[in-house]
């Protein structure tokens, strides 16, 4: 029989208790949240457990919520169980002033470049990453472009007319 979200949730609660919160199922995909110190333990548990078997990291990215103080940067992991075809989402929130999150590169090799991209665009510092430097942007850039405080348009253009762009 196939693995249901109920079973996954029960196994997680049995192992970690009430440290995991926010179990929701938007569009049928189980989503939960963990404190940032536990992110490696949760990933390892989901990898090792013989019924859960979430052994494929589909995506790793971040979201910037400028209004939730103390919880501004969310690092989101999307995992996939290839044998039972089940996906799961797992979020870790961190403060924007100390954006340190443990790296998942020991467990998943694909997390290497995905964490570099998350660092490049949001500034999340992955503790223990072998090569954390900018991957897609110019190396000398000193800001993090996808954060909400950063303006969308290029600031050095002088020819854009404000009234034609509705400002």
């Amino acid at each position: 029989m196939s693995l249901t979200n109920e079973q996954i949730q029960n196994k997680l609660i049995e192992k970690f208790g009430d440290q995991l919160t926010g179990f929701t199922e938007p569009y049928g995909m189980l989503t939960f949240e963990a404190p940032k110190d536990l992110n490696l333990k949760v990933l390892q548990f989901l990898f090792d457990d013989e019924t859960l078997r979430f052994r494929f990291l589909t995506d790793l990215q971040a979201v910037h919520y400028p209004d939730d103080k103390q919880r501004e940067l969310a690092v989101v992991y999307h995992l996939h169980n290839l044998e039972d075809n089940v996906r799961i989402r797992f979020k870790v929130f961190t403060d924007i002033n100390t954006p340190d999150v443990y790296t998942a590169t020991q467990l998943y090799a694909s997390a290497n470049w995905m964490e570099r991209e998350t660092y490049d665009f949001y500034g999340v510092n992955f503790v223990g990453h072998p090569n954390l430097k900018r991957i897609l942007n110019v190396d000398e850039m000193d800001y993090f472009p996808m954060r909400k405080e950063f303006p969308l348009e290029e600031q050095t253009r002088r020819d854009k007319d404000d009234e034609m762009f509705g400002r």
Binding site: L136, N137, V138, M141, P145, F150, L152, E153, E154, T156, R157, K160
Partner: protein
């Protein structure tokens, strides 16, 4: 027994009606067995009808360039028969497509490897001014890193527009003075880009 040919049997005289332009001789003095003209005219005529381009095609404009090099909109009939992908062997660098800020130094390096005389054609809105990508990662026009001779607007420009750009480059090449590359004005232009 094969069917006899039914098409194109009696050749028709082709009606040019001014549609085909031929390259005429430059102005000069003709005599019995000699023709005297200015060196810059002859050199200009030779250079403009054999421009070897370097297609620096990055994105969608590169596809339009591929169409321009095809047989329907033939770019080779203007002399650009040999596309060199090596900057050491070409005269004109055609920058087609979005150039990101990370690509800027690479483009400058390719431009520096070209030998004088060299021309630059910026094809498309992204190469001319950043196009619709007004963001942190796109270089807002390649004229921030290299001096450009002709800009072809369009997103993407039709092959006819790219050919029009090449014809304008040909006009520039044909009328260029032989001393331009050593002149102070040109040196100042290159210095403003940081190119020696």
């Amino acid at each position: 027994m094969s069917r006899p040919v039914q098409f194109n049997i009696t050749p028709k005289p082709i009606d040019y009606n001014g549609h085909i332009s031929m390259v005429g001789a430059p102005e000069g003095h003709t005599g019995e067995g000699f023709f005297a003209t200015k060196l810059s005219e002859v050199v200009g005529l030779a250079r403009k009808n054999s421009i070897w381009p370097l297609p620096f095609a990055t994105s969608c404009c590169g596809i339009e360039f591929m169409a321009t090099m095809g047989s329907h909109y033939d770019l080779a009939r203007f002399g650009s028969e040999r596309l060199a992908f090596s900057p050491r062997q070409c005269d004109l660098i055609m920058v087609m497509g979005t150039i990101a800020k990370k690509m800027g130094p690479v483009l400058k390096q390719v431009y520096l490897q070209m030998a004088e005389p060299r021309w630059v054609l910026a094809v498309g809105a992204c190469a001319s001014s950043g196009g619709i990508f007004d963001s942190y990662s796109v270089l807002q026009g390649i004229d921030q890193v290299i001096p450009v001779d002709v800009y072809v607007p369009g997103c993407p420009p039709r092959p006819e527009a790219i050919i029009d750009g090449l014809i304008k480059v040909q006009d520039l090449v044909g009328k260029e003075s032989l001393r331009r590359r050593n002149s102070e004005h040109y040196q100042k232009l290159l210095d403003s880009y940081g190119i020696q």
